[in-house]
Symmetry: C2
Subunit: 244 residues, 2 copies
Amino acid sequence: MANRFVQKLSGLADLDADDAAALERVTAKPRRYVARQDLIREGDEPGPMFVVLEGWVCRYKILPSGSRQIMAFLMPGDACDLHIKLLAQMDHGIQAITTASVATVSREQMESMMRDHPNIARTMYMAQLVDEGIMRAWIVSMGRRSAAERVAHLICELYLRARSIGLTGEGEFALPLSQLVLADALGMTAVHINRVLKELRLAGAMALTRGSVTILDPVKLVQIAGFDENYLHRRLLLTGLSAR
Amino acid sequence: MANRFVQKLSGLADLDADDAAALERVTAKPRRYVARQDLIREGDEPGPMFVVLEGWVCRYKILPSGSRQIMAFLMPGDACDLHIKLLAQMDHGIQAITTASVATVSREQMESMMRDHPNIARTMYMAQLVDEGIMRAWIVSMGRRSAAERVAHLICELYLRARSIGLTGEGEFALPLSQLVLADALGMTAVHINRVLKELRLAGAMALTRGSVTILDPVKLVQIAGFDENYLHRRLLLTGLSAR
DNA sequence: CGCAAGTTTGATGATTATCAAACAGGGTGG
DNA sequence: CCACCCTGTTTGATAATCATCAAACTTGCG
């Protein structure tokens, strides 16, 4: 099975066989985490860079009130901040959502790889820019979209991201997120998201069942979401969601 | 007057006179923008890196519905993404809020400076990490804080950021943002923010008048916001807001 | 089989948006 | 210099969205 890290970065720029080999080398020895296990916690001193190879992971923060906000989902192929070591301590936690296989890349490995493979360096900086774009899109969603629009937008985002690492089927993909997790990501309650999902199902846009999403009508879903895939900066935009 | 860019980066790490001189050199020829003028628009091809020297600037996006969401405020000393040139087109716009003086740094200047001054490179990567932390904090605010908490949190953030570039007075600072602009940043309406401001004023926490904010009770404001300045990654945390 | 986690539905209430309108201030042109 | 206009602020009335509380139901698993 293809290394998801290589696959993801290939979706952003061209990598040659040599680059791919280097990427596979630094992620050769992943570690397993079980669901709910923290990779690193708020307040911890940052360590190596994480690269998710299998399973889903999230960045999150717990507020004094006890409520949780998820700020990002990392799926296979995704890495956390390259330069994270520069900070004295983490301002948020990173946790496995499902069982996950995660490689760690030390700062030294990172630096030598980026020095020897300028193409990889460029592509990883692009990936970082895309991740920032995703965060901005979340801010837009939280600020200006209704609950239904927000759900639809997130599903569009996750579908395209999953697609670029070969994890989607025909208008359908595996989404191992409970409604509570989705609620924590979208800033709403599990009760309300449940009602919104019902609404989207009845509207014939999408249907979420345990562990997987079916996109019933891509055009309708994109329209509800007000989704513009531009911010994901993939090459081959024509192969996107609505043009399926 | 001190160069705000130097001043801001000095708040994150130590820079020597040589570093400071290099930073001043690349920002020596700023350009003026009037309020509401775009530095760059969504869809444009990214150009040089921007460094704000005077005035306020924001990242924003206009939705199909016509509503606007501001995703970041840039104040003097703040720079936009180092590697932005790697993307084919902007996924959001950047606009002056007030009259602003903005320097542009070309990719070549950038690269040679970062090669010759590893300290600057490290510090700018730190600044980028802090900016990402600020975005995550915005996501948390939008997702899990009430309108009043969100306003209080933003004011705490902006106060500390202004403070680190020497723009604050005694429990008071200049904030050239209209209530409409604040609303667009916080994902609410101008009408509602006005009521929230009144509430915060009556509670004796803070008072916003045209162009400036007075922090009436730092402890109370921090408490309402649930503010933890850790994510700004300043050195000298003891000199923060609540310990005034 | 029984428990734990997750999903679904109902009833009610709080928060925030929307619509409407009055008011204040700053700048411009007659 | 004043009238006017534009932008921004403030207040009121009403409605939509979403949270909260409560409880039944469903599914997977030891």
